[in-house]
């Protein structure tokens, strides 16, 4: 800013302190606070266990968690389990989005189909898809397919409904204009309906990836041979609370990274929205 205007000077000791602090870039400052927050939480936890007010056996202890976490990562199955959960999640996410979007668009193309299917969709949407888990596992077995299917079931309805609702809010005047321009139904679809709905669909990606992860992990909880859900459940069943925490923290980091990837993807696809 090259203007002559400056904020009012703060004087004295406070001024010196705030000036040196504000010279640090904002993101760095925020990150510093974040690290501090984590440090406080974990030291308080550690201290509480050392002092004896909570039990290391039933709640876990940060220093042991860290040691065992490194151990399962280096010598155990943690990376393999993470990989398994990730593939299940992305398979369910990708197929769910594609099939769900296709079904949503088909309902725009054939309004009769929409009228017939409407109550069933509402039913499917309000039923927790996790309730399907026993059926899916019995039919598809305890391997990859059943987790994929659960993850898919979680995503497909959301994508389907999002796209269908999206097609309902397509500007009628725009469709009239297209018809005045003599556009075919396919042209109206590719040039108006699809681009109108796409941002709405993409904006649900972040929700959908979460749902996909839930499907995969719950499936692994119920019955599996590998995966982070299986790792957590197995550790819990033998009262290895420190390993349970290691699994949970891994899951948190994984879901956060996945979220970041989807967020980047979304921004890249919707770049026209920002100036």
């Amino acid at each position: 800013m090259a203007t002559g205007l400056r904020p009012l000077e703060v004087t004295g000791k406070r001024a010196a302190r705030s000036r040196s602090w504000t010279r640090v870039p904002a993101t760095l400052r925020v990150n510093a606070w974040r690290v501090l927050l984590l440090a406080v939480i974990f030291s308080a936890w550690e201290a509480a266990v050392n002092q004896g007010s909570i039990s290391a056996q039933f709640v876990g202890k940060p220093s042991i968690i860290a040691r065992q976490w490194v151990d399962v990562a280096l010598h155990g199955t943690l990376f393999y389990d993470t990989w398994v959960t990730l593939t299940e999640t992305f398979a369910g996410f990708g197929s769910g989005i594609l099939i769900g979007a296709a079904c949503g668009f088909l309902m725009w193309w054939w309004p009769g189909l929409a009228r017939v299917l409407d109550p069933f969709l509402v039913m499917l949407n309000s039923t927790p898809r996790i309730a399907l888990a026993p059926v899916i596992i019995i039919v598809l077995g305890i391997g990859f397919n059943s987790k994929w299917a659960l993850s898919f079931a979680n995503v497909v309805i959301v994508a389907w409904l999002t796209v269908y609702e999206g097609t309902k809010v397509v500007d009628r005047d725009l469709v009239t204009l297209m018809r005045a321009l003599n556009a075919s139904r396919w042209q109206i679809f590719t040039k108006i309906v699809y681009p109108t709905v796409l941002p709405t669909l993409i904006s649900t990606f972040k929700i959908c990836i979460g749902f996909a992860l839930i499907g995969a992990v719950v499936g692994e909880f119920i019955s599996a041979k590998a995966g982070l859900g299986h790792f957590i459940w197995k550790s819990g069943s033998i009262y290895e609370l420190n390993l349970v925490w290691a699994g949970i923290f891994t899951l948190m980091i994984v879901s956060f990274l996945v979220y970041l990837v989807i967020d980047r993807f979304e921004r890249a696809l919707l770049s026209w929205r920002r100036s």
């Binding site: 500007d171 005047d173 725009l174 009239t176 204009l177 297209m178 018809r179 005045a180 321009l181 003599n182 556009a183 042209q187 040039k191 108006i192 681009p195 941002p199 026209w272 929205r273 100036s275």
Partner: protein, 274 residues
């Protein structure tokens, strides 16, 4: 007063009627609408809101079929054929995900013109439309007036014999609006197209048109045709011409009568709907 003269017209609507079934009651939107538009002339339609002007437009454009009556183009009857008309509404209807250049070629693209060729044809016009340098901007980066000019470019790029403009400047502020009117006249005088223009604004209609049709309250029909005998090219000075003022006075009375009737028709609905 004879509303239709007996010579060949570019567009002729003959005894057009439109009825809708809505909420158990039958609504007569248009009743026996007859009008004609001479080749290369600029004709406006004014009338109270809800008189069916936009319905008439959709019929003239071949988007919807009337309950009865006929549309003639160059003396030939047309049936559900839309290739002869280009169309523009109050909303600019630019696609927010397309840059201006790709927005204005939409009609050409649908007509099967290759994208590259369409872009080239459009690029040449950006200067005349006051949009030079905005080819690669998105619609949200432009002002309301610029967006309407882009929408008009999309409409006129099509080279269709008939241009229908449905309150294209309705959403603009008064200053931008008067500039756009002058600019539209320049574009139109240079292009020689047949234009039908819908508006609520009597001064706008007088300033732009060769002829003005006044529509009645519902059921809509043509109540009067007024010839605008102001010389062209017109400018801001035309607004204070004695003939302009006399026409305005005459039209205001005609339209006001119909607006009052429309208002009474709506009755207490005006407040119930508010």
């Amino acid at each position: 007063m004879p509303i239709v003269e007996n010579h060949r017209a570019k567009l002729r609507l003959e005894r057009i009627g439109m009825e809708f079934e809505g909420a158990g009651a039958r609504v007569v939107a248009l009743a026996d609408v007859t009008m004609e538009v001479r080749e290369n002339s600029f004709v406006s339609i004014v009338g109270p809101s809800g008189c069916g002007k936009s319905t008439l437009f959709s019929i003239a454009a071949g988007i919807i079929e009337p309950s009865y009556g006929e549309v003639y183009l160059d003396g030939k009857r047309v049936e559900r054929r839309t290739e002869y008309v280009s169309y523009m509404l109050q909303k600019d209807l630019l696609l927010p995900w397309r840059m201006i250049l790709d927005n204005v070629i939409l009609g050409l693209e649908i007509g099967g013109v290759p994208k590259r060729e369409a872009r080239e044809r459009a690029r040449a016009l950006f200067g005349r439309y006051g949009l030079q340098g905005f080819e690669n901007h998105y619609p949200h980066q432009l002002s309301g007036g610029m967006r309407q000019r882009a929408a008009l470019m999309r409409t006129l790029l099509l080279d269709r014999p008939l241009v229908l403009l449905d309150e294209p400047f309705g959403a603009l502020d008064a200053l931008t609006r008067s500039l756009m009117q002058e600019w539209l006249l320049q574009i139109w005088e240079g292009s020689q197209r047949t234009v039908v223009f819908i508006t609520h604004d009597i001064e706008e209609a007088i300033f732009l048109s060769d002829q003005i049709y006044v529509m009645s309250a519902r059921p809509g029909h043509m109540k009067a045709r007024v010839d605008v005998n102001l010389p062209r090219p017109r400018s801001i000075a035309s607004h204070t011409d004695a003939r302009f003022v006399a026409l305005k006075d005459h039209l205001l009375h005609l339209v006001r009568e119909e607006s009052l009737r429309a208002f009474e028709q709506q009755g207490s609905g005006v407040f119930a709907g508010a």
